[in-house]
């Protein structure tokens, strides 16, 4: 069961490495979005520090959602997706592999980049740490949940916008606990409870989301 999982991850990582430019697009989008807010709000560090957790989190959320549009579309176009549905492997396992590979390529760079952006907003060291941990727990959950939307909108004309409409409401709990963890840490309350909620969401979505995604993929390939 785990061998196919590893092969799928390896396959998708190999492909991603052979077309590296795609990786950076998401990352650059994230950096730009987060950097736009001070221009809209004003440079007062006092205000910025207050809104930093929310902004970095919303930026990460949008970036990971945009990247998700691509997760199944190439496989759908060249027919490898239908082949995956016809293998004796459980489709949810393959979905987990694909999501994990996708997260390693698009989500993990966001986690690594986030503290730098946090510095732009003058977040404290504890806050930066909480930001990274919360993103580390939260972005995989975003990818898992978003994969459902990506599978549902696979091959549709208005795919991208529709994906946002479907997925963003489902992202709300992750956003609340993710940004909440940073905020609680900065204000000295401690973000442990938020982080454990995030971890719970991650586990739940790891179990449930691949089932929904594989059902949606079967519908899309019908």
């Amino acid at each position: 069961m785990f061998e196919p999982l590893l092969w799928i991850i390896r396959r998708d990582l190999t492909i991603a490495m052979r077309r590296r430019s795609d990786i950076f697009t998401t990352l650059i989008f994230f950096v730009i979005v987060v950097s736009l807010f001070p221009l809209g709000i004003g440079p007062e560090l006092e205000t910025l520090r207050l809104i930093a957790p929310g902004i970095v989190w919303v930026g990460a959320l949008l970036a990971s959602m945009l990247a998700l549009e691509q997760i199944f579309s190439a496989d759908h176009r060249d027919g490898t997706l239908e082949q995956m549905l016809l293998t004796p492997q459980p489709v949810s396992i393959l979905v987990i592999g694909k999501v994990l590979a996708h997260w390693l390529v698009t989500g993990l760079p966001l986690v690594v980049m986030a503290p730098l952006l946090g510095l732009q907003y003058d977040l404290s060291a504890a806050g930066l740490g909480a930001l990274m941990v919360s993103l580390l727990l939260g972005t995989p959950a975003l990818s898992l949940i978003g994969a459902i939307g990506a599978a549902l909108t696979l091959g549709l004309r208005s795919g991208g916008v529709l994906l946002a409409l479907l997925v963003l409401p489902l992202y709300i709990p992750v956003l609340i606990f993710g940004a909440g963890a940073v905020e609680a840490t900065v204000s000295g309350l401690g973000g442990a409870s938020h982080l454990s909620m995030l971890a719970a969401i991650l586990v739940a979505s790891l179990v449930l989301a691949p089932l929904a995604t594989s059902a949606a993929l079967r519908v899309a390939e019908d």
């Binding site: 549902l152 549709l156 479907l166 409401p169 709990p173 606990f177 929904a212 519908v219 899309a220």
Partner: protein, 249 residues
């Protein structure tokens, strides 16, 4: 028992359900008109003035039933979706599809009346209260469902894809609700409370229930009218629809 089962499956066929839907629509329209008329009369003239909120509170007789209906309809839609996925019946998806606009309308009505209520009570049109925020997210879920439904050309794929979305949504609703609740209590404390049940007298409760049943009947009526249209559109190439249309024109 066996004959009952057979009966149910008989009505899961659009052709047999079509005439039945008309009867249900007529009956529930009458019920809806009567109940809502009584409910509105009671809410304006019978229910006592609230000692804290004055006359303005009367909008909750629309607001609260509308919120209940908006949540209830989503769950019913998810139930239809599950049935459709399990038994592969076309009618279930059509029912879910016909309920969606009504559910979205109630969610919107709930937000709208809520903000009408909020202006005199809180002095602002919008408050990021946990319930209002959840209701807003519910409206988004309805809109997402309808957008996905209309974006897929193939009706069968549309049925199944939107059914999956409904089930995902219904699993998420409690999670979203509790996380919003948590967020809300952390940020402003639960100082603002909607209709405290304790302070509600019997007439108010009865009025609210009458309105709720009226809204129920209304939802059934419009969804039946809509499902008839959906059935006709979807089954337009089948012989019974041709006969039906030939007979009606």
């Amino acid at each position: 028992m066996a004959s009952r089962l057979v009966n149910w499956f008989k009505f899961s066929s659009p052709a047999t359900f079509y005439p039945l839907a008309r009867k249900i629509a007529v009956v529930s329209t009458i019920i809806a008109v009567v109940l809502i008329a009584i409910g509105l009369y009671m809410s304006f003239f019978v229910a006592p003035t609230d000692y804290k909120q004055g006359e303005g509170y009367r909008i909750i007789f629309v607001h609260v039933p509308a919120s209940w209906m908006s949540m209830f309809i989503y769950v019913v839609m998810a139930g239809w979706a599950a049935l459709g996925l399990i038994f592969n019946t076309r009618l279930s998806a059509m029912m879910a599809q016909s309920l969606a606009p009504t559910g979205a309308m109630f969610a919107f009505l709930s937000l709208w009346t809520g903000s009408f209520w909020g202006k005199p009570m809180w002095g602002t049109w919008w408050v990021w209260d946990a319930r209002i925020t959840s209701e807003l997210i519910l409206l988004f879920l309805y809109l997402g469902y309808m957008a996905l439904r209309s974006a897929i050309d193939d009706p069968r794929r549309g049925d199944r894809a939107s059914a999956i979305l409904l089930l995902v949504g219904v699993v998420n609703i409690p999670i979203i609700y509790y996380s919003v609740q948590w967020w809300n209590t952390l940020h402003q404390g639960s100082t603002i409370k909607f209709n405290e049940e304790s302070s509600m007298d019997d007439t108010m409760l009865i009025t609210m229930l009458i309105m709720t049943f009226g809204f129920w009947a209304y939802s059934i009526a419009v969804s039946m009218v809509r499902v008839r249209a959906v059935i006709l559109e979807r089954e337009r190439s089948s012989s019974w629809v041709r006969e039906q249309l030939g007979a009606e024109t």
